[in-house]
């Protein structure tokens, strides 16, 4: 199921870590240059093609992952096929903390994906020697927890309009090139719907409505831009009444 291509493993990855473009922005930054060989020694670099699974729900949770480039969606299914996307991961994100014995979610590549894979046990062993990295992980978990609470508020109490506005604001914030410009959404309307607890049709209609009132512009379905940041903000936060 989870068809992936393992590129390479082991200590000879040291140069890859040293030149890793996301190391400074990820939990790996807690490892100093001279200790990088230890880190590289337990890492496996993998490529995942678009649409392929990196993690499949129900599998034994043997690994942690760190995303070096690309993006993926994480989702859970109900027995009758209802799907909910619990989040997206991107360059620099750490993946797998929220797992027990087995993974409760699946992870599917949205773009060509490059990840570093660590066996849980080996990474835990490594953490004992590098408390700074454990601290970074704890902080990453705290941030994810705070984001999860935001999302619970969104799913529990926001309207469709507020959800879509919140989503676009957050996407723009995650996309450096989006500041004042249009950018490419990585996900389909269906993904957005499953992330926001809506249907495809409602997402589509809401996007159109936001476009018609001048808050956003949509050139193609995946190429959007924010035209009125203040309005988007106040819709997202529920400050606007109309």
């Amino acid at each position: 199921m989870a068809i992936v291509a393992t590129v390479s493993t082991g200590t000879f990855l040291t140069p890859l870590c040293m030149s890793c473009s996301v190391r400074s922005a990820s939990v790996c930054s807690a490892i100093k240059d001279q200790d990088v060989p230890r880190l590289a020694g337990i890492a496996t670099v993998m490529d995942v093609a678009v649409g392929k699974l990196l993690i499949e729900a129900g599998e034994q949770a043997l690994y942690f992952f760190n995303v070096s480039s690309g993006a993926a969606k994480l989702y859970r299914l109900l027995p009758d096929g209802r799907r909910h996307i619990i989040g997206f991961v991107r360059s620099g994100d750490f993946l797998g903390l929220a797992a027990g014995e087995d993974y409760a979610f699946s992870a599917e590549a949205l773009t060509p994906l490059k990840v570093c894979r660590f066996t849980r046990k080996k990474l835990y062993d490594l953490l004992s020697d590098f408390p700074a990295m454990e601290r970074r992980l704890l902080q990453a978990a705290s941030n994810e927890l705070a984001a999860a609470q935001d999302q619970m508020l969104l799913l529990g109490r926001k309207t469709a309009r507020e959800r879509v506005a919140s989503f676009l604001r957050s996407e723009a914030a995650h996309t450096p090139s989006a500041q004042g410009h249009s950018w490419a959404l990585l996900m389909t309307r269906g993904d957005m719907a499953d992330y926001l607890g809506l249907t495809i049709e409602t997402v589509s209609r809401t996007m159109t409505a936001l476009r018609k009132c001048g808050v956003i512009a949509i050139s193609t379905a995946s190429d959007v831009s924010i035209e009125d940041t203040a309005a988007l903000e106040s819709i997202a936060d529920g400050t606007l009444l109309n």
Copy 2:
């Protein structure tokens, strides 16, 4: 706002830690007996009356808490007053990980509450000397993250009936005395509604419906029991079609 009564502070709390009924079940179990004075030295024991705030949203996040007895609800508000309960904490639970610079949520006592309060900075310093406790915190954060993902699936994709059934199952699991017996719900219908993304009326009607079809029994509003565990399970998981 957050009116609380500080009972006592400092190392002379050592006997309190040693006899703490939740120590073995909490992150504090990572501290060995001989090191307990260090732990007790940075703790403040506090009592919070029902309805009083332990944490107020927007305040500077100076503290972590560990619940020794009682329960509290954690909630966030939208500007127009819509409320969402992001979770409940009970004996043994650690509280405050999901905070940035400021608390994003408020915490209100549901029952008379006893907590140990730690300054964030002091606890972080302590963690550097007790990696086992840091590991426990990381595990606690992982568990919370997994629970948050369950709740996102519930809020995004489950029906009212499935939400209420999931809630009752989870409450029963958190209440040792609930196995095969009735137990007292700690929260009002309003709290349940704000936790499940519903209204009071829908929670009330759904509880009545579950009672009428023999899945649960309700003696008084807060005293409930599970009459058909298998049915409740299959409703909660969305396995049942009718």
